[in-house]
């Protein structure tokens, strides 16, 4: 559904979708994910559904322009295959590996004058699902780990704000090169967004770690020129 306002300077849209998924393959429990020559024996037939709503407001012109979008989307799977000898999560719906329900993006530009503009962008999304190890026990002369049900927990949410400032040189028509300076800060709030979450055994204890890349504000200065 689309609708434009104020002489087409503001565009809005609302979209909803529903998709029925059949014969989607997911990994069996205990599947060997890497260097597996018989991967076809390690997958399971699942059915699922994907649905969601997308909202967007866009302003393309004017001193203040930009867009805001929000998406709610789910992708859920379940195993209801009578011939399968393995039922993941007792046949209940579970989130697929890339199920991120909330996604929000904001991009805003503000033009102070012809030579100077700011922009701010902001993005948020739910963390992806994870199957967490919960505890451990001793059995058959070894330590064993047990896990939650498939994809029942999520890694921390992703959140990032960036800021940039563009300064253009003089606007003479005849010159060797047209140049501009960009001063920007990536990840303004310095949030340590998870790049990966992993667990490893250290001297008998199993510890969880979160790896984040660019977990600090990264300032940059760029000189651009074109001729």
């Amino acid at each position: 559904m689309y609708r434009n306002f104020k002489a087409n300077t503001i565009e809005t849209s609302v979209e909803a979708y529903y998709k029925d998924i059949q014969h989607y393959l997911d990994y069996k429990s205990g599947a060997q994910l890497l260097l597996n020559h018989t991967i076809e024996t390690d997958v399971i037939n699942t059915e699922g559904k994907a649905y969601g709503v997308e909202l967007m407001v866009k302003k393309l012109t004017g001193r203040v322009n930009g867009w805001i979008s929000y998406t709610y989307s789910r992708t859920l799977l379940r195993v209801q295959d009578p011939i399968s000898n393995e039922i993941i999560n007792q046949g209940k719906y579970y989130p697929s590996n890339y199920d991120k329900p909330h996604d929000f993006t904001f991009i805003g530009n503000y033009r102070v004058n012809k030579r100077f503009n700011f922009s701010l962008n902001f993005t948020y999304s739910t963390g992806r699902p994870i199957t967490l190890p919960l505890g451990k026990f001793d059995l058959a002369d070894s330590k064993r780990v047990y896990y939650t049900e498939r994809n029942q927990y999520r890694i921390p949410d992703y959140y990032r704000a960036d800021f940039s400032m563009n300064i253009e040189g003089n606007h003479k028509i005849r010159k060797l090169a047209h140049s501009s300076w960009t001063i920007a800060v990536y990840n303004l709030t310095g949030r340590k967004n998870p790049y990966s979450v992993y667990f490893k055994a250290e001297g008998g204890a199993i510890k969880g770690y979160k790896l984040s890349i660019f977990g600090q504000p990264i300032p940059t200065i760029t000189y651009n020129f074109k001729f």
Partner: protein, 380 residues
């Protein structure tokens, strides 16, 4: 030069950014996880002792041994009402000596903890375990491969599990002969030269003949001993025990095998849920770990001597042992101490008197540091 200094600052800044990337991640759900009951063991229906071990799960970041479940009441119940109580022998182990199953009867395990909770298992059928036909081995280019061979003429067993115990003989290069204790030296009469080490298998070994037309397990690889292992430096022995499983028990062990201890690598299999045939009556949602089954045990032991193997280079684990000397005058004159020495160093001029001793590290002089000097009863 100034640029260079800025450059080092810049590198420092980069390292700071990169270094702060990995931080501990402890979701609350892991911290809140309770301790659950773990049941290990099976009903030995062949007349041998039945040992059921009860313990508790641990938090992921805990180290050391898990807690044992003590003072529980553990019973085996027959389908037709018979009951056999197990006696506690410490460490969370409960024992029933010499049980013989009634043919055709199913059995269940029932545990009552001191916490007032009751954990019955499902009724399980008794699976008689066929005898092991042979433990065979062959020396290939990379080492010794040990295999299990078995079959069931009645075609009823189909699912098997094994575990094993390895024992090997070894000697140390510099056995101590003198114990120097509180200023006096004595001859050592104990055998510190020849010892034996025994270890239990750590992995889960399961096999199935379901896809075969006959119930035969041929050359199931149970153990591999590389050439550079110290296990066959003199003589090696392996005792393999065989257990017959039901299909459900086989699936349980297979699941457990896939959930290995090694997590956090790229090669990890996808985690799986562990099912159990033991439930808590008071709280059906409570997790219980372990699977109760009833079967007999068959076992076989073989020996592999060094002279049966190809002319491989021999590894003893003591290659880095070296001899050192210590002068008598450097030893403390008093105090409570005791040293082991390999031999005496005699003076070359004057009277024949020991002026010092030869020594090596404790591991090179005393084989008991890595095993026992008591010859195992089965050793031949």
């Amino acid at each position: 030069m100034k640029i260079l200094r800025y450059f080092t600052y810049l590198i420092g800044l980069c390292l700071l950014i990169l270094g702060s990337c990995v931080e501990p991640y402890q979701p609350p759900v892991i911290e809140q996880e309770n301790s659950h009951l773990v049941v290990e063991g099976f009903l030995n229906t062949g007349g041998g002792p039945t040992v059921i071990r009860l313990s508790r799960t641990q938090q992921l970041d805990e180290t050391g041994k898990p807690a044992s479940e003590l003072k529980a009441r553990v019973t085996i119940e027959g389908e037709r009402g018979s009951q056999f109580a197990l006696t506690e022998r410490g460490n969370g182990e409960y024992v029933l000596p010499g049980f013989r199953a009634v043919s055709g009867e199913k059995y269940r395990l029932r545990i009552k903890t001191t916490g007032g909770k009751e954990y019955p298992s499902e009724l399980v059928p008794v699976k008689p375990t066929p005898a092991i036909d042979a433990i065979s081995w062959e020396a290939l280019n990379d080492g010794v491969h040990v295999y299990v061979n078995t079959h069931d003429p009645g075609n009823n067993t189909l699912y098997y599990r094994w575990d094993f115990e390895e024992t090997w003989e070894y000697t140390v290069p510099y056995p101590a002969t003198i114990e120097y204790k509180n200023g006096t030296s004595n001859q050592i009469t104990d055998n510190l030269y020849r010892c034996w080490t025994t270890t239990a298998s750590k992995n889960i070994y399961i096999g199935s003949s379901v896809r075969l037309s006959e119930d035969i397990i041929y050359k199931y690889p149970i153990e591999f001993i590389p050439i550079e292992s110290v296990k066959h430096s003199i003589k090696y022995s392996i005792l393999v025990r065989q257990y017959a499983l039901t299909k459900e028990a086989y699936q349980y062990w297979e699941n457990l095998r896939k959930n290995t201890e090694n997590i956090g690598t790229l090669f990890d299999p996808l985690p799986s849920q562990l099912s159990s045939n033991i439930t808590c009556v008071n709280a059906p949602e409570e997790k219980v770990f372990g699977f109760f089954s009833a079967h007999s045990v068959t076992e076989q032991r073989i020996f592999i001597s060094r002279n049966e193997l190809p002319k491989w280079r021999r590894f003893t684990g003591y290659e880095s042992c070296a001899i050192d000397t210590v002068l008598k005058g450097d030893l403390p004159k008093s105090g409570n101490y005791s040293y082991f020495f390999v031999g005496e160093v005699m003076s070359t001029n004057g009277p024949m008197m020991p002026i010092g001793y030869t020594k090596s590290s404790a591991a090179c002089m005393d084989c008991r540091t890595a095993g026992t000097n008591i010859r195992p009863t089965f050793w031949k």
